[in-house]
């Protein structure tokens, strides 16, 4: 039934944590289909609620960022009943793969990523899953993808969570080149929102890290 709207075969390219991604042809465009699949482990009501809400929000946010001129996939089609979005297919390597291939030589992309993040925050949107797997480099430019956990928020807490997730992705998978990459990101961010805003954000990041697992840091501070 869904198939009829496509002008080519659906080719599964990734089975993400919550959605299946297909590459296909839609209105003669190279397109990505994102379907949030029902999860057998969830209560059916919860499942439907989560899939539909997340699809709606993701569609809204993609459209809004695109209208603001930010490099995100263009939104082509939305179907809430089936938790389905069709958007532009961005062809390129993920920043995660690029770091593995080129190590610290990819700092400029981290700077662009910092700029992007600051502009997105300025728009009142946070990404919610800001990792190197969700940045694609195409023609020397970066595209941020997967707004599946994004939301509208101007809270410092939520913005700091983005930064915290970005730092942790770098620390957990690209540990050896961590410092140069983080520095480049922060330079980009500061260019847009200024030194002071970024400093405040980092303070909040520290606070977040002192909850949960980062108990040793908390403990050390308490002892001072």
């Amino acid at each position: 039934m869904i198939k009829s709207i496509f002008c080519g075969p659906l080719k599964l390219i990734a089975l993400g944590a919550e959605a299946a991604l297909y590459r296909t042809c839609f209105e003669d465009l190279d397109a990505l289909v994102k379907v949030r699949l029902p999860k057998p482990y969830r209560d059916p009501t919860l499942d439907k609620m989560l899939r539909s809400r997340r699809t709606e929000l993701e569609g809204k946010i993609l459209a809004e960022l695109r209208l603001k001129g930010l490099k995100v996939p263009a939104l082509y089609y939305v179907n809430l009943e089936n938790a389905l979005l069709i958007m532009e297919f961005i062809e390129g390597l993920t920043l995660r793969d690029l770091v593995f291939m080129k190590g610290g030589q990819v700092t400029k992309y981290f700077k662009y990523w910092g700029v992007f993040t600051a502009l997105m925050h300025e728009t009142g949107i946070v990404h919610g899953d800001l990792t190197t797997s969700n940045v694609i480099v195409k023609d020397e430019e970066i595209y941020v993808v997967d707004f599946g956990l994004a939301k509208y928020s101007n809270k410092v807490e939520d913005r700091a969570t983005d930064i915290h997730l970005m730092i942790r992705a770098v620390e957990s998978t690209h540990y050896t080149v961590k410092e140069a990459l983080l520095k480049a990101f922060s330079e980009g961010y500061k260019e847009v929102l200024g030194e002071q805003t970024f400093k405040e954000l980092l303070e909040k990041v520290k606070e977040i890290r002192m909850r949960g697992r980062y108990v040793e840091e908390r403990r050390m501070r308490k002892n001072i």
Partner: protein, 333 residues
């Protein structure tokens, strides 16, 4: 090679003896302190451990059928855990190592939970879902350490379930016939109530859910089984979701679930459903080894000893907050 391991980070004084070839586990003896009321009282635990320690060690050697001079090294938990409890095991291990001239191996308790699970399932490089009373985290090996990919931003799943059960006047006791009170109460639940489901990236948060659930309960207008059911569905689904995200992010094909909280049959079936869809090899550590024990310490000590890691007894301090990602993992790639 034979290693004797001592665990004493919380309730259990455990002694294990392991070998670097089949059948691996030669002895597993445990003395478990049970508080008369409430949670663990460190002072009581310490005196219990001191009383039981000599017998536990002798029994373990008997079970292994060896004399202590046949042991190649002494391994001990130095953290994380409760300071007073850890110090009992550390003191005894230092004494044994010094007196018998054996190398002393400093073992991280969290790493040991993972390594024993890997041995049980013969896993090489799993994504690890660590669900104990104090911990809720997703970790896997990357660049020589167990890096943390996701975790709770506030309270652990175990703590969340216990607190909720207590506030709803369902507990203590928290677990009856292997089933947590929240799981029991949820059995009669039918209607799903819309409560906060919080997943941020690869992290979960339970404090908002706890507050909202209790607020709803206090209105008196809610069916308790429905509330338990909804909360349980949300909390477990969030855990399974971040596990799935960890798998997607790391591309690992094995998933190891460690810690006592994973014994919930409902959570197990959800994890199984997810693993089968993703075609991932799932290993849930059985309760016997999911709880604290000396075997996991001995086994991890053996892996470390093979890479020449040891510590001088006078430098073997306990580290109450020794995190899993602070340990270099030399024995796995």
């Amino acid at each position: 090679m034979i290693v004797l391991g001592i665990e004493s980070s919380a309730h259990t004084f455990g002694v294990g003896v392991v070998k670097d070839e089949e059948p691996y586990i030669l002895a597993d003896v445990r003395s478990v302190y049970t508080p008369k009321s409430g949670g663990i009282h460190p002072k009581e635990a310490v005196s219990y451990f001191i009383e039981k320690a000599p017998d536990t060690i002798v029994k373990a050697l008997d079970e292994a059928g060896i004399a202590i001079d046949k042991v190649d090294a002494i391994a001990v938990t130095l953290g994380p855990g409760l300071g007073p409890c850890l110090r009992v095991g550390a003191t005894i291990a230092r004494a044994l190592a010094t007196y018998y001239g054996k190398p002393l191996i400093p073992v991280n308790h969290a790493v040991a939970h993972v390594e024993i699970g890997k041995l049980i399932f013969r896993f090489k490089d799993p994504l690890v879902v660590y669900l104990s009373g104090g911990n809720t985290l997703i970790t896997s090996l990357s660049e020589g350490r167990y890096r943390i990919f996701g975790e709770t931003l506030d309270i652990s799943l175990g703590n969340f379930l216990d607190t909720l059960a207590r506030e709803l006047r369902l507990a203590p006791p928290y677990v009856v016939s292997g089933l947590h009170q929240i799981d029991r109460c949820a059995q009669e639940g039918r209607n799903f109530l819309d409560l906060p489901y919080v997943v941020k990236g690869q992290d979960v948060s339970f404090s908002g859910l706890l507050t909202a659930a209790l607020k709803l309960y206090k209105t008196g207008k809610v069916n308790l089984p429905d509330l338990c059911y909804s909360v349980r569905e949300i909390a477990y689904s969030a855990i399974v979701e971040i596990s799935e995200r960890g798998l997607a992010h790391t591309g690992k094909k094995e998933m190891l679930v460690v810690g006592g909280v994973a014994s919930s049959p409902v959570l197990r079936s959800k994890l199984e459903a997810m693993a089968s869809v993703r075609n991932v090899n799932l290993g849930i550590v059985p309760p016997k080894y999911a709880v604290d024990n000396g075997v996991m310490i001995a086994w991890t000590g053996l892996l470390m000893f093979k890479h020449n890691i040891s510590v001088r007894p006078e430098e073997a301090y306990v580290k109450q907050r020794w995190k899993i990602d602070q340990v270099d993992i030399l024995w796995a790639t």
